[in-house]
């Protein structure tokens, strides 16, 4: 008999922390450039991020349309020429769009950098938004939107955003066909002129690169960096959470119901936010979480349930989501309610908290697994206007968390009465 099997393998503590942080330099044009080193087989990832995310909205869909249409033609090249050059040199492009930042990331083989970066810089800084390309984009976006609105998770997700942020807020606005077709070239050109320039830009380069690449980047963007732009005006949007706390959306013929539950939380200090992250992980942030254990692994009601929390300006957005059989949403919702109450009522054992902490520390370690992962970690910090100390503080909070602190967070931040619930599912 293998007695060693019963005993198992030793499990060791491990260090988590910021590994291989970026070096910050200024490009010759004055744009902050973050460099993360790492062996990436002669490929670099270069991200251009602009203060041009959803929160800068000057009209519905304009920021997201703007970043999506950058590649559709510049003062130097047509959309087709851009596509041909980037594809031939095997450049992989990832547009990004979030609350604060919009931009594009490019995987570039170093030997092609001098050829492709001038093409890229031209469409990032001098796009022309041809009318015909805009028309095609609108038509196809509209078709995608119609398909999306057939999905219960999208119906519930959009509705809860509207209820939490309000219909006038960029993160809560409902999108209808008039909005899609209402975006004009002039709006895009204006938005681009005021939001895509040296003062609103930062660059993240990851990979095994040297000064030569930085020169190539400088040379590529230099022609577009000239006159000082007017200071960026950030429209002020206030969240207007609806007092109605429950909605059932009927989706005829659906076999499942999507549940969304969430709230906005005022964040007065970052230490509380870091503790909220720990509490969220315990509740629904990992495979062994209470929601997963109860609703999937014990009751078998869902393929997956999770909770999340992220920063949105001076607030945190808390969200629980699951899809369940059409006739079990009420049962699932009751179990979610029970788990929210249990955050206050049920003991958090040493064992449970230890697993949460180890899982979170492992995640932090994985955030820096390689240059491209480290780049993603830095970009998410920059998106929220944060830097590496935020991760260090998060790690300290994980170590410090205990039952008393977490129960206090549960009592003050994510009680059931604060929650808005939206369910989208079949006819009752």
């Amino acid at each position: 008999m293998n007695h060693f099997r019963k005993k198992g393998a030793p499990i060791y503590d491990f260090d988590a922390g910021v590994l291989n942080p970026a070096t910050l330099k200024k490009s010759a044009c004055g744009i902050p450039l973050y460099h993360i080193t790492g062996n990436t087989m002669n490929v670099a990832r270069i991200d251009f991020l602009f203060d041009a995310g959803a929160i800068f909205q000057t009209g519905k869909l304009i920021p997201s349309h703007c970043v999506s249409l950058l590649r559709e033609g510049s003062e130097l090249h047509t959309a087709s020429e851009i596509a041909e050059i980037l594809d031939y040199h095997a450049v992989f492009t990832e547009p990004s769009f979030s609350r604060n930042k919009a931009g594009m990331g490019f995987y570039i083989d170093l030997k092609s950098a001098a050829t492709v970066l001038p093409v890229i810089a031209a469409f990032l800084f001098r796009p022309v938004f041809p009318q015909e390309e805009l028309d095609i984009f609108n038509q196809n976006s509209f078709q995608r939107l119609k398909i999306d609105y057939e999905k219960v998770k999208i119906l519930a997700g959009k509705s809860i955003s509207t209820r939490l942020f309000g219909a006038k807020h960029p993160l809560g606005a409902e999108i209808i066909s008039e909005d899609v077709f209402g975006v004009t070239r002039n709006q895009l050109t204006d938005f681009h002129r005021t939001h895509y320039h040296a003062q609103s830009c930062s660059i993240v380069v990851s990979g095994n690169v040297g000064e030569e690449l930085f020169h190539i980047i400088d040379n590529a963007i230099q022609p577009y960096i000239g006159e000082q732009k007017t200071a960026l005006i950030k429209p002020v949007y206030t969240e207007e959470t609806s007092p109605e706390k429950f909605e059932y959306i009927t989706k005829s013929g659906a076999s499942q119901a999507a549940i969304r539950m969430g709230c906005l939380i005022d964040i007065d200090n970052m230490p509380d936010y870091h503790m909220l992250k720990v509490l969220n992980t315990l509740l629904g942030g990992y495979f062994g979480s209470r929601l997963m254990k109860n609703i999937r692994e014990d009751k078998g009601l869902t393929y997956g349930i999770g909770s999340s929390v992220h920063l949105s300006g001076d607030k945190a957005v808390f969200n629980i989501s699951a899809e369940v059989a059409g006739d079990t949403w009420q049962q699932a919702l009751n179990e979610i309610d029970n788990e929210l109450s249990a955050l206050v009522d049920k003991p958090i054992t040493h064992e449970e908290l230890m697993l949460v902490k180890k899982t979170m520390l492992g995640d932090k370690l994985a955030m820096f697994d390689g240059a491209f992962a480290s780049s993603a970690a830095l970009r998410s910090l920059l998106e929220a206007g944060l830097y590496y100390n935020f991760i260090e503080d998060g790690i300290s909070a994980i170590h410090k968390a205990n039952e008393k602190i977490l129960k206090n967070i549960a009592t003050t931040m994510i009680t059931r009465d604060k929650m808005t619930v939206v369910v989208a599912g079949p006819e009752a």
């Binding site: 031939y88 999905k151 076999s255 899809e323 697994d369």
Partner: protein
């Protein structure tokens, strides 16, 4: 070039080690040579259901996930038509914990009737969530059934229908384990930051004592050549028509596999691809259209799928697709176009291998195919494809008799059928 060390344990387990000291992590990947093609047609979805049960506890490890969490790791698994793969990625210090739990569930499972009951429900909800309650979610289920009459690729990994999963019994599930889960039917890959000598010793300690088993011999009837075009038309509650075409293609080890893959790239990989340029941007026929291969171990499918814009008919869309296919079968493409898709294809593979996990999965997969070292030959195989080969492969691939077409119609109002 991915360097690795390979050896066998006496029980038949194939072991592959790829060391990368630049990462603080290590990946332990176990791939079993069993997928949904090994299922009984009356009991489909078993391989995948079984994957769920592998997390329900083994002889000495009541809670698999708990150990992974305690070790600061993350884990997951996936099943496809050919293989079932399990991985753990964790801080390098805790390599041995992963070897312990992976070896224990290879040794003997210990899940309960309750665990089976719960996972049956979970998988049925997965079936709903991913296939039945999504617009167009059942399209691939229908297309497979249309294209394959005999071969078990006619069903998706999730199974033919939820009833098959609901009926799975504990006895059947246990039989499945002993006939497919065995060291001599698996590949263990360790990739990442580890110390080789100690790792050899740990592998021997945890996996060496598991006995080899009689694995069910694989006896799959291969799909006969399709001799006439097939089509199916279904009406669904979706906002837009969709069109799917499946052509039988070669198996994964066939030398023409690479040309077939590059043909799909000429058609639809990237924004300069023909489908994007011609069908979406110039001719305004589709809101989205794609060509890709299902590169399975037995002969797979070359698939074209698209959603015609509301005012476009199936015949005009199909004619436009045909014209582009014909350009390939007549050699009407430039050398630069061929070079471009090769560049993209090779670069994409390199990027995929930037992380230890993907390298580990690919090493295991190529070993299941026959030899992990084939992974390092992929670039040359793509590079060496020439124009004549593309034309020859396209001519046999795009024979109309080889095609199965699914018309997925928007209900209310019904579109005129072709």
């Amino acid at each position: 070039m991915i360097d690795f060390e390979k050896y066998h344990l006496p029980n038949g387990l194939r072991v592959i080690l790829h060391r990368d000291t630049t990462t603080p992590m290590v990946v332990v990947n176990v791939m079993y040579d069993v997928g949904s093609r090994d299922e009984n047609p009356q009991k489909t979805g078993f391989a995948h259901l079984f994957e769920h049960l592998m997390f329900g506890g083994s002889l000495n490890v009541p809670e698999y996930d708990r150990v992974v969490q305690k070790a600061g790791g993350e884990n997951n698994a996936f099943t496809n038509n050919d293989i079932t793969n399990y991985y753990v990625s964790l801080p390098a210090e805790n390599l041995e914990a992963a070897l312990w739990i992976e070896s224990d569930r290879m040794l003997e499972l210990a899940f309960s009737e309750k665990s089976l009951e719960v996972q049956r429900n979970v998988v049925v909800e997965e079936f709903n969530q991913r296939y039945l309650n999504q617009p167009y979610g059942d399209a691939m289920l229908l297309l497979r059934e249309l294209a394959y009459r005999v071969h078990p690729y006619q069903w998706n990994t999730i199974g033919k229908k939820p009833e098959h999963i609901r009926q799975a019994s504990l006895k059947e599930v246990k039989e499945f384990f002993y006939s497919h889960y065995a060291p001599n039917n698996a590949v263990l890959v360790i990739a990442g930051n580890f110390e080789p000598d100690n790792t050899h010793r740990l592998i021997e300690k945890w996996f060496g004592s598991i006995g080899s088993r009689d694995v069910s011999p694989r006896n799959i009837v291969q799909e006969p050549v399709q001799t006439e075009a097939r089509s199916l038309s279904v009406d669904r509650d979706v906002p837009q028509n969709a069109l799917y075409k499946a052509y039988h293609m070669v198996n994964r080890l066939h030398p023409d596999y690479y040309a077939t893959d590059l043909i799909s790239d000429i058609l639809s990989n990237g924004r300069s691809s023909w489908f994007f340029e011609k069908l979406i941007k110039e001719q305004h026929l589709f809101s989205e259209v794609d060509a890709y291969i299902v590169g399975s171990i037995d002969p797979g499918l070359f698939i074209i799928s698209g959603k015609p814009l509301p005012d476009r008919s199936y015949p005009e869309c199909e004619t436009a697709i045909e014209q582009l296919l014909q350009r390939i079968t007549t050699g009407d493409f430039t050398d630069r176009e061929l070079e471009k898709v090769k560049n993209r294809c090779i670069a994409a593979r390199k990027l995929e291998w930037a992380g230890a996990l993907n390298k580990a999965i690919d090493l295991a997969y190529f070993e299941i195919l026959g030899d992990a070292s084939m992974m390092n030959e992929e670039e040359d195989k793509y590079r060496n494809v020439n124009r004549d080969q593309i034309v020859r492969v396209a001519q046999s691939l795009f024979d109309k008799k080889n095609c199965s077409t699914l018309y997925y119609n928007k209900k209310n109002p019904h579109e005129p059928l072709p």
